[in-house]
């Protein structure tokens, strides 16, 4: 009962702001609407027993990516101008694609995964489990991720620097 209430609260917190993220006319508001969605996904991670991931979600997304996006929005001129068209002429097809995607995925979800059962006991999502997994079985993806981040940092600087000083 309690987990149902928590789930629906998180679902509303996640999905309703996501609608405004993709439809809001003001780009800055769209960026701010992304915040409750990211917090809702972090809440889902908590209910699923991945507490370390919830903390990482808030640190990286809310602390890093959101600030980066809002900075970029502030660099854009006339973000709130109602004269500027925010949707292109593919909107009808986009709605069509949206309904196709959710129809197919919901059909699969309800027909294949509607076991109704409670999840398996004792998930290994705590910080200690994550640390053991990352420095044990998954050490190669962990190290590759650090190289990817390094390449992304250098690439971002090189691309954003421009032609020459």
């Amino acid at each position: 009962m309690t987990e149902q209430i928590i789930f629906w609260a998180l679902a509303i917190l996640t999905v309703i702001p996501a609608i405004f993220v993709v439809t809001s006319r003001n780009l800055f508001h769209a960026g701010l609407w992304l915040l409750p969605t990211l917090f809702g996904v972090a809440g889902f991670f908590l209910t699923l027993g991945a507490e370390f991931l919830a903390a990482v979600q808030i640190l990286i997304y809310v602390g890093g990516i959101m600030v980066l996006i809002l900075f970029a929005v502030l660099l854009t001129r006339r973000i709130a101008d109602p004269e500027i068209q925010m949707q292109n002429r593919l909107t009808v097809w986009a709605v069509f694609a949206f309904f196709c995607i959710i129809m197919i995925l919901m059909k699969v979800a309800i027909s294949q995964f509607d076991k109704g059962g409670a999840p398996a006991a004792a998930p290994a999502g705590t910080t200690a489990d994550m640390g053991t997994a990352l420095l044990g079985t998954y050490i190669l993806p962990f190290e590759v991720a650090s190289i990817v981040l390094l390449a992304a940092i250098i690439g971002a600087i090189v691309i954003a620097r421009g032609e020459k000083r």
Binding site: V22, L34, A50, I65, A72, A94, A120, A152, I153
Partner: protein, 107 residues
């Protein structure tokens, strides 16, 4: 009132809605930064799916799902940094970040 326990399909449906909204945004938005936000939505939906399937699987005692989701978050951070750098560079060159007007490679 007695409701059934929260099953795996609940999470898949929320994730499907997030992914569909992200796809809608990627197709319909004109501003490149808004497209980037929509991509973040889709990546979040994928991470949520990974964790949900892991939690309801038989082998939840191994931290497979959270590790995958962690890699997704890493790639999302790298993608945001490089994507915004590219948008900045495109803005310098074309003086716009409207993805419909950037048609240099449109033969």
């Amino acid at each position: 009132m007695n409701l059934p326990p929260v099953g795996l399909h609940y999470y898949i449906i929320v994730s499907a809605l997030l992914f569909g909204l992200g796809a809608f945004g990627v197709i319909s938005r004109r501003n490149a930064i808004a497209v980037l936000m929509s991509i973040e939505l889709m990546l979040n939906a994928a991470a949520l799916n990974f964790v949900a399937f892991w939690r309801y699987s038989e082998r939840a005692s191994e931290a497979t799902g959270p590790v995958f989701a962690l890699i997704i978050i890493t790639v999302a951070a790298a993608e945001a940094a490089v994507g915004l750098a590219i948008i900045l560079s495109v803005y310098r060159k074309f003086n716009t970040i409207n993805v419909d007007d950037i048609d240099l490679m449109d033969g």
